[in-house]
């Protein structure tokens, strides 16, 4: 990996986004709109938003970033720029981590705005600090980025790419403990839940919600999420083929 190329690739992706103001606006606004809906959905049930809203702060950026990056990578592939890049001194991790960094920055803004709204407009209260909630929200978004980049390797068309979103994202949402407590699931579902990275992202947020000080479990969850990000980006780089048919 070359820091120079990593940096310039990060910059290039951000430049593309800067030219696409509507996408940037959507990235920031979509979680805000969804969070508002969720807030009013549970307005009459005190305490529920504190649980559900908190988890949503991790879920929305995860799902949105997954979709955006898988399309971004697919565009790189179908426009021929990927093939061209692979004939230059650029190394595959430069490209993947460059995407990870640039979308990670965008995700930080997205998570910051959504979290701010949840606390100040919707009176979200957590035992732990706001800073830690943002850390998890950003980590979840970057997890979405990394998985999106990885799974886009298996899509040849946009039609295929968008379907990876329900396929990869929905099961993780079903089994992460949001709809049913994980310890009440059937054994095989618990096992599935244990290998899904979103489970740890959500658990980490719940830990921040319930405890004043960071717990060992929360740190473990954060390490697992970050580990999954690095792993997914590395796999994405490894599955990128320089030579194709």
């Amino acid at each position: 990996m070359s820091p120079r190329i990593l940096f310039s690739t990060t910059r290039r992706v951000l430049t593309q986004l800067r030219h696409d103001k509507r996408t940037l606006a959507l990235v920031v606004l979509v979680p805000v709109v969804l969070l508002t809906l969720v807030y009013y959905l549970f307005e009459k049930q005190p305490g529920v938003f504190n649980e559900i809203g908190l988890i949503m702060l991790g879920l929305f950026p995860f799902a949105i970033m997954f979709l955006i990056t898988s399309i971004a990578m697919l565009r790189e592939r179908t426009s021929g720029t990927l093939e061209r890049l692979l004939t230059t001194p650029l190394n595959k991790p430069d490209l993947l981590f460059g995407y990870g960094l640039s979308f990670g920055l965008v995700a930080a803004v997205q998570a910051g705005v959504a979290t701010g709204l949840a606390y100040w407009a919707f009176n979200l209260s957590t035992a732990g600090t706001t800073g830690l909630v943002i850390v998890f929200a950003v980590a979840d978004a970057i997890l979405g980025v990394a998985l999106g980049l990885f799974f886009s390797a298996f899509a040849r068309t946009e039609f295929q790419a968008v379907q990876f979103m329900p396929l990869v994202v929905f099961p993780q949402i079903f089994l992460c403990g949001l709809f049913a407590p994980r310890d009440q699931m059937a054994g095989w579902m618990q096992a599935l839940s244990k290998v899904m990275p979103l489970t740890y992202a959500v658990q980490g947020l719940q830990e921040v919600g319930a405890h004043v000080d960071p717990t060992p479990l929360m740190w473990r969850d954060l390490i697992i999420v970050v580990g999954c990000i690095v792993l997914a980006l590395s796999f994405a780089a490894a599955t990128l083929r320089r030579r194709t048919d």
Binding site: S8, T9, R11, Q16, S79, E83, T87, P89, R243, D245
Partner: protein
């Protein structure tokens, strides 16, 4: 003769179809070699093999003494894909600067020079997506030139350009060749063949002529390269028996 590109017994299968049937050629350092042939003849596939992005069934491709696609080669080779491959959602300058940044020691000034070389200085701040087709492909060409490569592989660089611009680009190619750069330029129009030093004529995945322009003309006994191509094809095909 100093060899820049050496292709030996190259067999490439795409899908279930063999598109290159064990071809071989060698391209000397410096000069412009034209890769001519009809659409679908295997020109692009051969070029992709040379820049190292094509899966090959068998045979070998060596560029500047190293296996095609090896890491050390990637800073010394420039590739222009047939369909322009630049980012439509950035300006010309942003595109060329990004590609410049991938090469060590290539500066922003070099990027501006590459933009000027393809005649896009006036459109440097325009979004690539809003350019005309010809400008779009020149933006792509600037990104191939910017890394100051020793070997330039250009897949149909002048398609859709007006004659004046074509003339200018060919002057640039000749200038690069004179400075020692090896250019492999594909085209399916024969009037460009005359501007090359050497020609490789390819048809249905086989090389049917590989020589200097004059030698190709002599072999076919005609000055008209279009006619020469036709005669060379006929000479290779089994003669159909007239009843």
């Amino acid at each position: 003769m100093d060899v820049a590109i050496e292709v030996r017994d190259l067999v490439v299968v795409r899908g279930h179809k063999e598109v290159l049937h064990g071809i071989g050629t060698s391209v000397a350092t410096g000069g412009v070699t034209g890769l001519l042939g009809p659409s679908g003849s295997g020109k692009t596939t051969l070029m992709r093999a040379i820049v190292g992005v094509q899966k090959v069934r068998s045979g070998s491709v060596t560029v500047l003494g190293q296996p095609a696609g090896s890491a050390a080669l990637r800073s010394r080779i420039g590739y222009l894909t047939q369909a322009p491959s630049v980012y439509a959602d950035m300006t010309v300058r942003e595109n060329v600067r990004y590609f410049a940044s991938l090469y060590k020691g290539v500066t922003r000034a070099d990027a501006d020079r590459a933009i000027a070389d393809v005649g896009l200085s006036d459109a440097a701040n325009q979004m690539v997506g809003s350019l005309s087709g010809g400008q779009f492909s020149r933006a792509s060409l600037a990104c191939a030139l910017v890394g100051k490569p020793d070997v330039l592989v250009l897949d149909e660089p002048t398609v859709g350009l007006d004659p004046v611009l074509r003339e200018e680009l060919w002057r640039k190619f000749r200038e690069l060749a004179a400075s020692g750069v090896t250019l492999l330029v594909s085209s399916h129009v024969m009037d460009e063949a005359g501007r090359c030093d050497r020609l490789i004529l390819i048809r249905e995945g086989r090389i049917i002529a590989d020589d200097t322009v004059d030698a190709v003309r002599r072999a076919a006994d005609t000055h008209d390269l279009d006619e020469a191509f036709l005669r060379l094809i006929r000479a290779q095909e089994p003669v159909e028996v007239a009843s």
